[in-house]
């Protein structure tokens, strides 16, 4: 009796996984055969090329450029753009079909909320992997052409960035499930990104502003606040997570890397759960 029950359970699990895979395959094919991903990849490689060009050109002007973390910024920029691209796609993945009414039709099939969220989540991961596969050889070509330095460890560091992307995807799906329309979903995502990026950039900018004097610092309070927010951002902001993962990999700081991966997994699980609950609450009707 219990063996039969386990068998049925396994069969149901297999069917659910099969449906998730079908959704993921179909959605990622749609992305692959659209211009969006190629335009985003071209922009990210273009900006990376600009950053590399800037470093190489500086040598021409000053004879010397001592770079502490070579290729980190170009790669970080390219991966951030990839992450934002898949996050935007995830944000539209539920809100848009719901707005168009096609989500209701989809739910006539044996699909429930976890399957839909899971399918779209895996789609995002696959699209990110494709984005990386598309851009990395071009970045290597840029490195070869400019005789720039690419630390091998940075290539390996690309692998754990998928955990930061997973958080961005899960958050995007939550926003998509919660927003009343596709436009509202994108607006919420953009606002969220701007706030998180603003906090991170403000902190980085403040680090580069020296204190008012050796003994007094007019910006001390703001510095302290932003410094405290950085630890919160490591839980909330996928962009900050990406930064920590790449930097700790480059510095061979494995403890920090593992800690950040753990944080990312927890954050992903929380956002995915919230997305499922939100979709269940909001329903499939516009």
């Amino acid at each position: 009796m219990s063996a039969d029950l386990t068998k049925t359970h396994n069969r149901a699990g297999f069917l659910r996984w099969h449906t998730i895979r079908r959704i993921a395959t179909q959605q990622s094919r749609d992305s692959l055969f659209g211009w969006g991903i190629y335009i985003a990849a071209t922009v990210s490689v273009g900006i990376a090329a600009l950053l590399i060009f800037n470093s190489v050109r500086f040598v021409g002007e000053s004879d010397l450029n001592v770079i502490s973390q070579p290729f980190l910024f170009p790669l970080q920029f390219a991966l951030t753009l990839a992450m934002l691209f898949v996050a935007v796609e995830a944000t539209l993945s539920i809100a848009r079909p719901r707005e168009q009414g096609s989500l209701q039709v989809l739910f006539f099939a044996p699909i429930d909320e976890p399957i839909l969220i899971g399918g779209n989540f895996i789609t995002g991961l696959l699209v990110y992997v494709f984005f990386v596969v598309l851009t990395l050889p071009v970045l290597l070509l840029l490195v070869w052409a400019t005789n720039f330095v690419l630390p091998t460890v940075l290539l390996w560091a690309v692998i754990p960035t998928i955990f930061a992307v997973a958080v961005a995807l899960a958050f995007g799906l939550f926003v998509s499930a919660a927003a009343p329309s596709a436009r509202a979903a994108v607006l919420i995502l953009v606002a969220g990104i701007l706030i998180l990026l603003g906090l991170q950039s403000a902190y980085t900018a403040l680090l580069n502003i020296p204190p008012t004097s050796r003994f007094f610092d007019a910006l001390l309070f703001i510095r302290s606040i932003l410094a405290s927010l950085q630890s919160i951002l490591s839980w909330l902001s996928p962009i900050r997570m990406l930064d920590i993962i790449l930097t700790s990999s480059l510095n061979n700081d494995w403890a920090q890397l593992l800690k950040q991966i753990g944080i990312s997994l927890v954050a992903t699980a929380v956002w995915l759960f919230a997305a499922v609950r939100m979709l269940h609450r909001k329903g499939v009707l516009p």
């Binding site: 692959l32 055969f33 211009w35 991903i37 190629y38 335009i39 990849a41 071209t42 490689v45 273009g46 090329a49 600009l50 590399i52 060009f53 470093s55 190489v56 050109r57 040598v59 021409g60 000053s62 004879d63 010397l64 450029n65 001592v66 770079i67 502490s68 973390q69 070579p70 598309l134 851009t135 071009v138 070509l141 840029l142 052409a145 400019t146 005789n147 720039f148 330095v149 630390p151 460890v153 940075l154 680090l207 204190p211 050796r214 003994f215 007094f216 610092d217 001390l220 510095r223 302290s224 932003l226 410094a227 405290s228 950085q230 630890s231 480059l250 510095n251 061979n252 700081d253």
Partner: protein, 447 residues
């Protein structure tokens, strides 16, 4: 009796009161400017790899930062402290009050006392010069007394030698004057006395404190007096930290602006140079510390650093017992020795420098040593290599490897073309997809 009469009768007292009133404001102001307080503080001699940093922690400092790799001394004292608004910190008047607080130091981790330290005698000897040989030495307990006795004996011996030298010099001058009067040839004068060399060691003298060397971590410390009570204001947090990474850093000196060197500390860092130029490398031991901890070890009252989670590389002892190797794909291309160099400024209106290898046989051409470094040529036929340091005993110095590149193509046109490749790939995929769709459609139509 009128006021005038009273004033005349009590003129002595009146004058005293007037003088007192006139003197009042400055007295009051003086009290406001320096409001001294008798307070418990910890005097700190924080050991770092190549120095000892002397600071103190007034009651406003709730956390003391020390390094795990070196022994530090924490001394409980009662002293007179005052707030100095110009530098926004508290200062100690050790000259006015410096009272040793007897007792033992309890170090607590979590809820458990992990160590109880007795106060011991210590002394620190500082040496002139830079390098591993000039690292200050900390002597504790009996060793401190022996070292201090030796130091004092050396001082007395030097003083005696100076007196003897002064006497001998005076006698020599008298003899010289006498000989001059007699018309003796100056070449026949005996050699004058030689001045004794000044001592190169300086000492803090004998003091007492708690020697601390702990594993990295967060602790709490407090001083327990002889009667078993906790000394008020003696409870503080203690953060013991260690370097995250130790490596070899390089001071990179470009040929044309040798007065503005740059530093390469990061292990994954790279040196990018122009074709057919040279750079000069000066290696040193470099350690990476938590930025906040290191800043507050240097100055416990520093509050300006809010960079929690940031790390900072700190340059340490110079390395002068190694050769620089140029390496490509695991093969050593060549070895470069450490050499002294002389810098010559280009004469006339032409600005710039010429760096020449120092040669003592050409004093006119190379009159002095300006710096000692490894000269690294960046040539067009060797654009891609790394450098590493090998010591005299053939040991490869870990963390000394750096990538060196001669900057390549920087044509914006080529870089822009490369950047368009993803779009080209997309175009190809979409074209292929379109062809597939047409084929399927036409085959479906034919059916």
């Amino acid at each position: 009796m009128s006021l005038r009469t009273l004033f005349k009768q009590r003129s002595k007292w009146s004058l005293t009161i007037i003088l007192f009133i006139l003197a009042m404001p400055p007295l009051v102001f003086a009290q406001e400017a320096i409001d001294r307080q008798r307070s418990f503080v910890y005097g700190i001699n924080a050991g770092i790899p190549d120095a000892v940093i002397g600071t103190f922690a007034p009651p406003t400092v709730d956390t003391i930062y020390l390094m795990s790799t070196e022994t530090s001394i924490v001394s409980p004292r009662i002293t007179s402290i005052y707030y100095w608004p110009i530098t926004n910190d508290y200062r100690a008047s050790w000259g006015i009050l410096n009272e040793v607080v007897e007792g033992e130091l309890e170090i607590i981790s979590g809820l458990q006392t992990v160590e109880t330290i007795e106060q011991v005698t210590y002394t620190i000897h500082f040496f002139q010069g830079r390098g591993s040989s000039s690292k200050p030495t900390l002597f504790i307990g009996e060793e401190a007394e022996v070292a201090n006795a030796q130091f004092e004996a050396d001082q007395i011996a030097y003083r005696d030698a100076v007196w003897a030298y002064e006497d001998a010099r005076q006698a020599w001058l008298d003899a010289a004057r006498e000989a001059q009067k007699k018309g003796v040839d100056p070449n026949l004068f005996p050699e004058g006395p030689i001045e004794p060399p000044a001592p190169t060691t300086f000492s803090t003298g004998l003091n007492s404190g708690f020697p601390i060397k702990l594993d990295p971590g967060n602790y709490r410390i407090r001083t327990r007096a002889a009667d078993g009570s906790i000394v008020p204001k003696s409870e503080r947090d203690l953060v013991v930290f260690s370097p995250r990474r130790t490596a070899v850093g390089y001071e990179v000196i470009p040929e044309q602006r040798w007065t503005f060197p740059e530093q390469s500390n990061d292990l994954e860092g790279a040196i990018l140079g122009r074709e057919n130029s040279s750079v000069y490398l000066k290696p040193f031991v470099s350690r990476e510390y938590p930025a906040v901890s290191y800043a507050r070890l240097q100055d416990p009252q520093d509050v300006s650093t809010g960079q929690v989670g940031e790390w900072t590389w700190v340059a340490g002892e110079p390395i002068d017992n190694a050769v620089l190797e140029q390496v490509n794909n695991g093969q050593v291309l060549g070895q470069i020795p450490l050499q002294p160099y002389t810098v010559k400024q280009s004469p006339g209106g032409r600005l710039g420098y010429e760096i020449l290898e120092y040669n003592s046989n050409t004093p006119f051409e190379t009159p002095r040593v300006d710096f000692v470094a490894y000269r690294l040529p960046l040539e067009s036929n060797n654009r891609n290599f790394s450098v590493q340091l090998r010591t005299d005993d053939e040991t490869l110095l870990l963390g000394s490897n750096r990538a060196v590149r001669v900057a390549g193509n920087n044509s914006p046109f080529i870089l822009a073309l490369i950047s368009l490749l993803p779009l080209l790939a997309g175009g190809c995929i979409l074209w292929w997809r379109q062809q597939q769709t047409y084929r399927l459609k036409s085959s479906a139509d034919s059916v």
